[in-house]
């Protein structure tokens, strides 16, 4: 069924009797052409684009729990395409363009809201780096501006311009950046995929892979064996666990990233802001909660929870940047498991096993990448060639010395 204002009014007047399930709960079939392992944002988007853009059929998404329960359900909802390196920027800009048309495309209001993002800088070296980055963004077709301190002050007069330990000197701005209602992204893709015949199978955990003569034949699951011509894995923090079923070790570590939301407040912060002198980024949701986060806890973890030091570190950053939030209250905190890669950039690639494809290593850039990741992965699955914006996301870049290291931290995942 198609969603629209008229439908909402019609249903309201008739007691909402007509609404259909947003997606079915089908039993798994014996075999599919495509199995996408992982019912998160990336997996659902992959299935959606496989069906819609690449006209493929007999597609299933296998989710060990409930769809959208991974990082798409536990992030700070920021979208942006303000990357530096050639390997990344075209991909994230492609993602931004998909965000811009997403709601009309899948007929679901994911509240894509381009209220702008600014990255504050506090030193000349940061300014130089942002100048380099802003130019790279524009050369890749994105938008970027360098804001003066006064321009920042006009936008957010309540920031600490008086006695800051690291004074604000300006900011790199991307007006097209913003936020998206994260859960709605998973639900919108799920509904769109389901409408196109994709079987979304929840509570179906992959426990093994059937591989013969270097070719994948299907997956063993908690609901029995399911055959497949091609298997695409998009399980973020569980990447190493799932790919171990295929005997693979990955250039990935799993780390916990905490995020936070405050009680609902009347409008304070229109756009997205990142602090350049501490670990703190923030936006305000349409419901009024300040949604903010910081750095990962820093140790390997599969527990969806973190510890106090990072909570305090984030709050210290927030209080230093905007001392007016002292009396706002932190309502809820949660943790997501990040697939931190060795150079801070993702992998969308075939494996050495025929029919087995991998999508992961998103670190904490995964949410903003959702549409392009799904599109590019679907492209790879359907055509066996990488999408033009994702050609650098190869497994062998480490062997070849072609790392995509935005932060310049080297092979230490918890620093990316």
């Amino acid at each position: 069924m198609r969603y629209s204002g008229f439908r909402v009014i019609a249903e309201a007047l008739t007691g909402h009797k007509g609404w259909k399930p947003a997606w079915r709960d089908p039993a798994p079939q014996a075999a599919y052409d495509y199995i996408i392992v992982g019912g998160g944002g990336h997996g659902l988007a992959t299935a959606y684009y496989l069906a819609k853009e690449f006209k493929q059929a007999r597609i299933a998404v296998l989710e060990k729990g409930w769809i959208g329960g991974g990082n798409v359900g536990r992030n700070t909802t920021i979208v942006r395409s303000n990357y530096l390196l050639d390997g990344n920027q075209p991909f994230y800009e492609f993602s931004m363009k998909l965000w811009e048309g997403l709601e009309q495309d899948f007929n679901y209001n994911a509240m894509v809201s381009q209220r702008g993002i600014i990255n504050l800088f506090h030193t000349d070296a940061q300014r130089d780096a942002y100048t380099r980055r802003g130019n790279a963004m524009i050369m890749h077709g994105a938008d970027a501006e360098l804001l003066t301190k006064d321009q920042v002050r006009q936008m957010y007069p309540f920031l600490n311009f008086d006695n800051a330990r690291f004074p604000i000197k300006g900011a790199l701005a991307q007006r097209r950046g913003g936020t998206v209602r994260h859960d709605a992204v998973a639900w919108g893709y799920a509904r769109g995929a389901d409408m196109r015949g994709v079987d979304i199978i929840q509570n179906c955990e992959v426990l093994g892979m059937k591989i013969e003569n270097g070719r994948v034949l299907g997956v063993e699951t908690s609901r029995g064996f399911i055959g497949a011509k091609k298997v695409g894995v998009a399980v973020a923090g569980s990447s190493s666990k799932v790919m171990a079923h295929a005997g693979m070790r990955l250039p990935i570590e799993s780390h916990v990233l905490q995020a936070f939301v405050s009680e609902g407040l009347k409008p304070l912060i229109d756009g997205v802001m990142t602090y350049g002198a501490g670990h703190f980024y923030v936006s305000q949701s349409d419901k009024g909660g300040l949604v903010f986060g910081g750095d990962i806890d820093g140790y390997n973890s599969y527990a969806q929870r973190g510890n106090l030091p990072v909570v305090e570190d984030v709050a210290e950053g927030g209080m230093s940047l905007m001392p007016m939030i002292g009396r706002a209250r932190l309502l809820r905190m949660w943790g997501g498991i990040m697939d931190m890669s060795m150079d801070g950039s993702p992998i969308i690639d075939k494996t050495h096993i025929d029919g087995l494809y991998f999508n992961g290593g998103w670190c904490y850039g995964g949410f903003k990448a959702t549409p392009a990741s799904g599109f590019a992965f679907a492209h790879l699955l359907a055509k066996d060639t990488p999408h033009s914006t994702a050609t650098a996301y190869r497994f062998d870049r480490f062997a070849k010395g072609l790392m995509i290291d935005e932060k310049g931290q080297g092979a230490q995942p918890n620093l990316h």
């Binding site: 629209s4 204002g5 909402v8 007047l13 909402h16 959208g68 050639d86 009309q104 007929n107 894509v112 809201s113 381009q114 506090h122 030193t123 070296a125 130089d128 780096a129 100048t131 380099r132 802003g134 130019n135 050369m139 970027a144 360098l146 006695n163 800051a164 690291f166 004074p167 859960d183 709605a184 639900w187 609902g264 407040l265 009347k266 304070l268 002198a277 349409d286 419901k287 009024g288 929870r305 510890n307 909570v311 210290e316 927030g318 209080m319 230093s320 939030i325 002292g326 009396r327 932190l330 309502l331 809820r332 905190m333 062997a399 070849k400 010395g401 932060k407 310049g408 080297g410 092979a411």
Partner: protein, 965 residues
Amino acid sequence: MSRITGGQIDRSKTLRFSFDGVAYAGHPGDTLASALLANGVRLMGRSFKYHRPRGVISAGSEEPNAIVELRSGARQEPNTRATVIELFDGLQAQSQNRWPSLKFDALAINDRLSPFFAAGFYYKTFMWPAAFWEKLYEPIIRRAAGLGSLSKQDDPDDYDKGFLHCDLLIIGAGPAGLSAALTAGRAGARVILADEDFRMGGRLNAETLEVGGGSGADWAAKAVLELAAMPNVRLMTRTTVIGAFDHGIYGAVERVSDHLAQPLPGKPRQILWRIYAARSILAAGAIERPIAFENNDRPGIMLAGALRAYANRWGVAVGDRVAVFTNNDDGLRTVADLKAKGLDVTLIDARQGDEVIDSAGRLGLKSITVRRGNGRTETLAVSALGVSGGWNPNLNIASNHRGRPVWSESLAAFLPPEGAIAGLSCAGAAAGAMSTHGALTTGADQAVQALASLGLTASTDLPQAEDAPVNLKAHWYVHSGKGRAWIDQQNDVTVKDVKLAKQENFVSVEHLKRYTTLGMATDQGKTGNILGLAVMAELTGKTIPETGTTIYRPPYTPVAMGVLGGRARGEDFKPTRHTPSHKWATEQGAVFVEVGYWLRTQWLPRAGETTWRQSVDREVLQTRKSVGICDVTTLGKIDIQGTDAGAFLDKVYANTFSTLGIGKTRYGLMLREDGMVMDDGTTARMGQNEYVMTTTTANAVPVFRHLEYCRQVLWPDMDVQLISTTEAWAQYSVAGPNARKLLEKLVDQDISDAAFPYMACGNITVKGTRARLFRISFSGELAYEIAVPTRYGDAMIRALVEAGRDFDAVVYGTEALGVMRVEKGHVAGNELNGQSSALNMGLGKMVSKKKDAIGMVLSQREGMVQPNGYRLVGVKPVDPAKALTAGAHFLAKGAEAVAVNDGGWLTSVVYSPHLGHSIGLGYLKGGDTRKGERLRVVNLLANTDVEVEIVSPHFFDPEGERLRG
């Protein structure tokens, strides 16, 4: 007047306060809620979505409805629960999320339009036309959303952080917590007893139950007195344990000053305690839950236990004609206690088939409609209704580690998961022991067991107390009518919304919560979640535990950002590191710049200089002309000793050091294992087995960590010892043609070129004071770095300046330093960006392939040795009048500014007063073979496009004759 007799309030004192500008009076011991109720005020807030009139439903921190803006001005606190605000004289509170007034709220129109605002409606609309979402719909939604408001002024209060240690942390000071504390305290254990309330005793303060033959409240007071006298017990009232973290670490927030008009001088508003507990007991009691029925959200309708608490603890009758709707015996206590207070009370017992099916009263309860078991319905005029659907063990913190709560049929509630948090056990109602006797017993027993596991023995001595059964018949919501029955009152989630979620297949409890916003309000669903689960269970034909559980994340109740930040704000966000010349430079009016935690002199303006460029140009020209002095103390210094020190340096540096002679210094390049450059600096050999390594200012700490890693983890049998000496020595660079002449006036030894040649180092004395001298140069001039013990650093800069007078010596800052290093083509921070190899920097030849140094192997990967890779180049504008900008990108003439044409970027740019124009360093694809080429550097952020020539990075004295002079 609804004050009645009794209660734990001090009627001898009167406290004045105001709500929405109206003046009222209360007493010490009151909360804002009890005081307002005592003044006959039932309407205290509006709900989030439908702006329904709301009053208190609880007497504790689980309150979803009565949330207000407390205080005014910079101290305004939005969303504060009236039920936990301790009354103080002069308290001001305002209602929130309403306009123009609480009684008349324009957005109450949403309530009439509620059919259009069903769960998730916004996901289905506002999509057409595309542009309207952001331009029209969303701005309206954003303005309407949110609850209270911040002042947008800096928080004027201070916050502390602290650390506490104990054998046993007891969370909650009700009968179970007090019993546990007495047991453990008497046994001599280190005990912390924390309670969010300002009075310990928990429910005992709200009940008329007897303990040990006297009133429960009196027993609690006596217990507190006994505990207060124990040096091994720390009693913490007004302290909320916010969460359980790993390995027995608990977060707790103590509200030191929130019960005062404002904090006392020097005292914090709140303290965040990090509690290290060997064992802990959760004795947080239970939280009552309502039964949902049509219009069950009117002011005057509250939890039966709260109604009783207001009467017993605060001497407040919420109404004179009262009804109680219950499905368990606890509701009968409310009936009995209120009757004893002389009130007219009607019982509606769901177990007899009686139900409340509707209520009336726009701004406050006027009447309820009751359907008796025999089907007859009647309307009762009441101003207060107490509802009890049973009590949920308050297991919140026990599920912080995501352990699954366990369903209890007899209580129709979830019990805390056993052993889900190492070292934590549960007692009292939190563990499902609902009687006073059960609380006292389990509290004591858990304490005995906890201590036993620590090797301590304790005995129990329990007072007699009631042990009545619960007698509950699960009843979640009333099946009746077409109206709305509220489950999550603050977020306006009704039974209908849950039904819609089911209909649209949002049946997983996580989908239900996210789709309907059930449990997402400021109370985190403490009273409502279980109802939502129960309704979904009924709709899906599953049991409640099959449908799902509700686990809680920290914090237990919302926590002020300020207290999580503590003292680290403003200038105290991070420590400040001062250089030895700071005092002198301040006297000179120096301009300082943050370099990491350091404050360094950026430049030193002189009288008449109006722009920074004038100062910097002078500093550079005078240094190259005569001599300049610069504080370089911030560079990292690491003392490396041991018989394997030289071999060790060969491992950590890409180039060779074991061949370095004693008394000599060498430039070293340090790689990461992935072949990129980690850091660079000079290392001096001071003795046979003694080296001093210098690092960049930024990498001093990471390099030291890396060296310890190499020494302990990779090569554990190397005889190498390390210690940082960065702060032990005040080090100054003296550079320029007259550098030696200047130093000769201070140094007691012969430092002629013969005695102290280029790259020499050694121990010397400065007018008798121990010092070190290194003949190294970053500026390209004849230069030395001289170091004295830091305490003499201030005297040293003064001595250098004094000795420099004859040469018009200047002191230069980081800007001039930067100019001179770019003129010499030395790499620094902007080039050492972690993305660059030695080859990129034009230092490829320094990487020795003859030894196994860190990073050597991977630096040879094909992608890192491409001939067309980035190479460091010098850049100068073809038109000297044109300025360059760092971060601008290289483009060929006529090439479009698109990524495929991107040739690289300018890393560092300075104005060279020596050359009279802007110069830069940059990374250019294939740059090593492109000298003499003409390109453009384009900065699209400022729309500049400058033609440049690619030159050698060595702009100044390329042969390096000056530094050997």
